[in-house]
């Protein structure tokens, strides 16, 4: 079939199962926007290309399918660098198509030319500069394959204008449907080594104080069910990192919740005291380990990861298993069953009672506001959690509100937590929530955002309003870049430097209305529940609920940066408790 490169691009995207594309047109990508009109793919017109990238990420978080964004060359390509880096850090499958100046003009500093593949080389899993129209079907097929297999990640495809422009003879091509990949340097491996899996099973059967340290690899490998089986068969407690909230139900008696810098005391301390850490799709990030040399000093390590470069990168494992988390866990469960299953597990009652002791002495806690104090953000989050369906998808920005959300929400379903972990990108919440809603229109989607974050990407609420994505935003207005304020309070002798945002400017209610949303404002605890109920009722428009919160509230527990996890600072009310 004869066609031009632009038509081939749309057909190739359709063949990959793409149903939605987040983007914004411009000169270099213009020819592709014409065949788009005839395509089955829905296009969502964003207000800033960063929004398109985060929407694609949110879509991928919520569905497990690759998110796709399409933008033009030059400034549009640079605008999407942040989402690419974000997706790279958090291993999010994503394909970004960028326009480029005509092939012959590359290197001449042409209008809106930039070295997109050069700029994005270090923040993509792989990228392509396509030089011939005939290469488009194969490159798109390869791009999706690379983005979604092995350790997932973003792939960028840069397409010069001439090969998609029907007025240019260089765009003429014959369609073909690629049925294979010629990628001799890319051979992702799923299965773990059987002998190593047996060794891991043996360590598990010997361990007196084991902890399952589970990361984003659980969700990426669709391994939540396998993890549940492993935990229940062995009776081993589970910590879920920021990237794996929802990968193991918070309500499960074996769940210890989030570890790390703002993890809860029990999760942090159980890892610290463990004699065996079974790390599944987790990467010993500095926000989890604290001072690496003093992290879990007594623990042997079993480390399972699809990316062999993670094995031994930070902490030398005793058993290192390269493989897909789900596949390896299933094999591990088999190996453990052969060794006697739950019968073969040692008596761990003492360990269990230490854990429940910590849970009793050091629960998450805060002091409810009194008199005319403003709201406590933790209270807002508890109310939100308790008044929304349990499968609600929650997206968050970056800062204190993010940590409170992860701490106070009860994640009982996989793929309900959409968050920027590795890069910590302020402004992620709103576009990511839109992407999640696009992927899961059947679900209620709340974004929990900070006032600082909100001001970075609020314009995408226009996209939500006009494109029909009725997301809801809980805006935690504490008048500060709160997380930075907390560090200045604790580590810079309360010398506050450039962290005050103001309480009343902008007027968030009016701004929300101007953006095409319903705007609500809440100042007292009695209003919180009714406002959430009101927001939950609205399904034909996005809603922004501004919660006016105390500025001075800090996130605890906290392991100060560079300190050992054994020095975790607990809430002031718990500081006299015996550890």
């Amino acid at each position: 079939m004869n066609m031009n490169g632009g038509q081939a691009l749309m057909k190739a995207l359709e063949n990959e199962g793409v149903d939605i594309l987040f983007g914004l047109p411009g000169g270099a990508i213009l020819p592709v926007y014409d065949p788009l009109i005839d395509s089955s793919i829905r296009h969502v017109l964003v207000r800033h290309e960063q929004g398109a990238g985060h929407m694609a990420e949110g879509y991928a978080h919520a569905t497990g399918r690759p998110g796709v964004a399409m933008v033009t060359s030059g400034p549009a390509a640079t605008n999407i660098v942040t989402p690419l880096c974000d997706a790279y850090m958090d291993s999010i499958p994503m394909v970004v198509v960028t326009g480029q100046v005509p092939y012959a003009a590359i290197g001449t500093d042409a209008f809106q030319e930039c070295d997109t593949t050069g700029i994005t080389m270090s923040v993509t899993k792989h990228n392509y500069l396509v030089t011939e129209a005939a290469d488009i079907p194969q490159v798109i097929h390869d791009a999706f394959y690379i983005a979604t297999t092995g350790r997932p990640g973003p792939v960028l495809v840069d397409i010069p204008k001439d090969i998609v422009d029907p007025n240019n003879p260089r765009s003429a091509m014959e369609w073909y449907t690629p049925d294979s990949h010629d990628l001799p340097g890319y051979l992702p491996n799923q299965a773990g080594d059987a002998e190593l899996i047996r060794q891991a099973a043996k360590l598990i059967c010997e361990a007196e104080r084991p902890v399952l340290y589970t990361g984003g690899g659980i969700l990426k490998s669709r391994g939540a069910e396998a993890l549940l089986e492993l935990a229940e068969m062995t009776g081993i407690h589970v910590v879920t990192t920021l990237m794996n909230r929802g990968g193991f139900p918070d309500d499960h008696p074996l769940c210890l919740g989030m570890p790390g810098m703002h993890g809860n005391y029990t999760a942090v301390t159980a890892m610290q005291e463990a004699d065996l850490l079974i790390a599944l799709g987790a990467r010993f990030d500095d926000r989890v380990t604290g001072k690496v040399g003093e992290f879990a000093p007594l623990a042997k390590i079993v480390h399972v990861d699809i990316d062999s470069a993670e094995l031994g990168k930070v902490r030398r494992p005793d058993v290192a298993i390269q493989g897909d988390c789900r596949v390896v866990i299933e094999e591990l469960v088999k190996a453990l069953k052969e060794m006697g299953g739950s019968e073969a597990q040692p008596d761990r009652n003492q360990w269990r009672s230490r854990i429940s002791g910590w849970q009793e002495r050091f629960p998450l806690t805060y002091e409810q506001s009194k008199g005319d104090e403003l709201l406590k953000p933790q209270y807002v989050l508890e109310q939100l959690r308790d008044s929304t369906p349990s499968d609600t998808i929650v997206a968050s920005g970056v800062g204190q509100h993010q940590m409170w959300t992860s701490q106070y929400w009860k994640f009982n379903h996989p793929y309900t937590w959409v968050n920027s972990g590795g890069l910590g990108t302020m402004g992620f919440a709103i576009p990511a929530a839109i992407g999640a809603k696009a992927g899961r229109p059947d679900r209620m989607v709340w974004a929990v955002d900070g006032d600082g974050c909100f001001q970075m990407t609020a314009q995408e609420l226009v996209t939500a309003a006009t494109e029909g994505f009725p997301i809801k935003v809980a805006l935690i207005n504490n008048a500060y870049l709160g997380m930075v304020r907390q560090w200045q309070e604790m580590f810079y002798e309360e010398r506050y430097s450039e962290v005050y945002l103001t309480r009343d400017v902008p007027d968030y209610k009016m701004w929300a209305e101007a953006l095409g949303c319903v705007g609500l404002r809440v100042e007292s605890p009695e209003e919180v529940g009714p406002a959430i109920a009101q927001a939950n009722e609205i399904d034909d428009q996005p809603v922004v609920v501004e919660f006016r919160c105390e500025a001075e509230e800090n996130v605890f527990p906290m392991v100060p940066a560079g300190m050992s996890n054994s020095d975790v600072v607990v809430d002031p009310s718990q500081r006299d408790q015996p550890r």
């Binding site: 593949t117 050069g118 080389m121 270090s122 899993k125 792989h126 500069l129 690379i146 990628l183 001799p184 340097g185 890319y186 990316d307 062999s308 470069a309 031994g312 990168k313």
Partner: protein
């Protein structure tokens, strides 16, 4: 010890797809991960789909295991061999132009003979020679020429292949 002696270095022989930008990907990875390249040689292979990079890496700067694993993640990197200097044959080419007034030209030609180097070009007061040899032999030659006054020198960086098995298999073995 200099890098050419193999001191504190490891040689990686990396087969890559022969595609635009691959060298930039490899160099960019080294820069981003804080690994140090001592020398780098690029050459085509007998299969035109691939090129071979011979990279000498400073081992003190980075755990070699991480270097190899991160390199291996590049989609265009096909395979990587780590060559221990003791178990490989290494060669490097040097071209050098030395001051050689007619009265001392003979001394330089003596060195050329001893090292089995090659005279490439002769000027009225300079001489250009080349030497192929192990990096340490090339170092020695360069050192001996230096007092005469080196005008220009270029070295390729080393290439290497693993040493071959010496003992033939026992024909009587089952």
């Amino acid at each position: 010890m200099s890098a050419a002696d193999g001191g504190g270095t490891t040689t990686l022989v990396v087969r890559v797809e022969n595609k635009a930008g691959v060298l930039a990907r490899v160099a960019g990875l080294f820069a981003r991960r804080g690994f140090n390249i001592e020398s780098l040689a690029v050459a085509p292979t007998d299969d035109e789909r691939f090129s071979r990079l011979t990279i000498v890496v400073g081992v003190d700067a980075a755990p070699m295991e991480q270097v190899v694993k991160q390199l291996d993640k590049l989609v265009n990197v096909v395979d990587i061999r780590e060559l221990n200097p003791a178990a490989s044959v290494e060669r490097e080419l040097m071209m050098v132009t030395v001051r050689a007034d007619p009265e001392i030209r003979g001394q330089i030609l003596d060195l050329v003979r001893i090292f089995q180097a090659t005279v490439l070009n002769v000027g009225y007061d300079e001489i250009m020679v080349s030497l192929t040899g192990s990096p340490s032999r090339v170092d020695d030659f360069e050192g001996l020429l230096r007092p005469y006054g080196i005008v220009d020198v270029q070295r390729t960086g080393k290439v290497a292949l693993p040493k071959l098995v010496k003992a033939a298999p026992d024909p009587l073995a089952p």
